[in-house]
Subunit: 141 residues, 4 copies
């Protein structure tokens, strides 16, 4: 069974306003176990990871990248994203990375990439460009 | 548990070149049971259907809309899509519709919408614009 | 020389909050004469209208579609858009239409189409999906 | 009057198949003088460079990035792109950069950025993600 990892990194230009952001992000991530369920059931079809998973972790990585820069009482909403699927996702592991291109009080713009890892080698499977909305005063539960 | 429906319709301008297209589409759809698994496990979180599902069925509806117009020996590949999430997907049922805006020998352009149905009332949750590639000579299995 | 028309229509679901919206939109449009300059100089190359023009009027039509629904003291900003170019824009006239799919206090989502008209026949050249931001308290000048 | 520069760079992973590609790209660029006309007339409004220009040079930079990797007898067509406008384009100079993320025989995927330069300082104004089509056997004139 394939494992699914979702990575995120914050843009060098922005810095987290909430010192407890890492704990906050991890807590949110633990609550959201959708990715694991998706991973368990869908990754084994024909040896390829379903495009729906690729899309979901790209979106998710972007959301978490933005979330790191948010104030403690805000949650994140995906306004929209665009995804190019550029290679089949084949491998034991799927890794999504995203970074904030433009932080903002209302909107945050991110970019992300999804890689499939097979026997240690990474293949770029998808690239994403995304708009997030900061939901101020609505903490994530 | 929420049911998931994926609808598709072909653009009036194009007509299927393969007379057996409906059977072909249904057979492909039966093989792909990912949607049902997704539906069973993810739709119950907080009463909202996960954005990953909304995205996956939008993409899927677009793919099937294109597929109806393909020759019998071709399969479909999503090149890219862009999705705007415009309302939370709450309800017992999620319905995706897509139509072909521009058929083509190599590329097919579609648009789609996702609706959530609650007690008979539909809410528009997401809109999509998508580019598909016709994989000629590679039938779908 | 080709004429350039930019049409807009508001979504049936939303209704203008500012009764003077039509005058307001036309005044804004008159101030913005970029389209006419673009039209005069770029439409004659090779008989095709430059893709930059197709894109600019698609974006512009979406912006005006949203603008019709805004309060009188707000201006509009394009957050992002995605454009599929589906046929070369050849003809004497280029027409963009857009409508609001989802009105909102902060964000407005639109869709648009661009047509080229040659000897009375219209060809669909491009389709667009767009996110606008309402700049409240910042009237357009 | 503002000058307009359009930069391009090829992805490290791909290498030009046509040794005369630089001359070919420059020749094409000289034929296409649309950018200069746009620059001359539109950049002076309110001190901001029109969003239509930002979009046009982003698309153009992506197209040239792809074009560098094409065979000598092929031309390039923009299938679609998605653009996030993230800051107003104010300055004396507008610079677009794009690179090929995924080369291909039929489709090429690029990403690009547009910067405005004012008194030597660059501001990121827009980011783009784009799909190009290789028109084999149709050289650019």
């Amino acid at each position: 069974m394939a494992a699914l990892q979702t990575g995120f990194k914050a843009h060098a230009g922005g810095s987290p306003v909430d010192p407890g952001y890492e704990m906050r992000v991890r807590a949110s991530f633990d609550r959201q176990n959708a990715m694991r369920l998706l991973g368990a059931q869908l990754t084994q079809q024909h040896g390829y990871i379903h495009a729906g998973i690729v899309s979901a972790i790209a979106d998710s990585a972007g959301g978490y990248a933005g979330f790191t820069l948010f104030p403690a009482d805000a949650s994140v909403l995906t306004v929209e994203y665009k995804l190019n699927l550029i290679a089949p996702a084949a491998g034991e592991r799927l890794i999504a990375e995203a970074s904030v291109v433009k932080p903002g009080k209302t909107l945050v713009i991110t970019r992300g990439e999804v890689y499939a890892e097979r026997e240690g080698a990474r293949t770029l499977c998808a690239i994403m460009q995304q708009t997030l909305m900061v939901m101020a005063g609505k903490p994530d539960h």
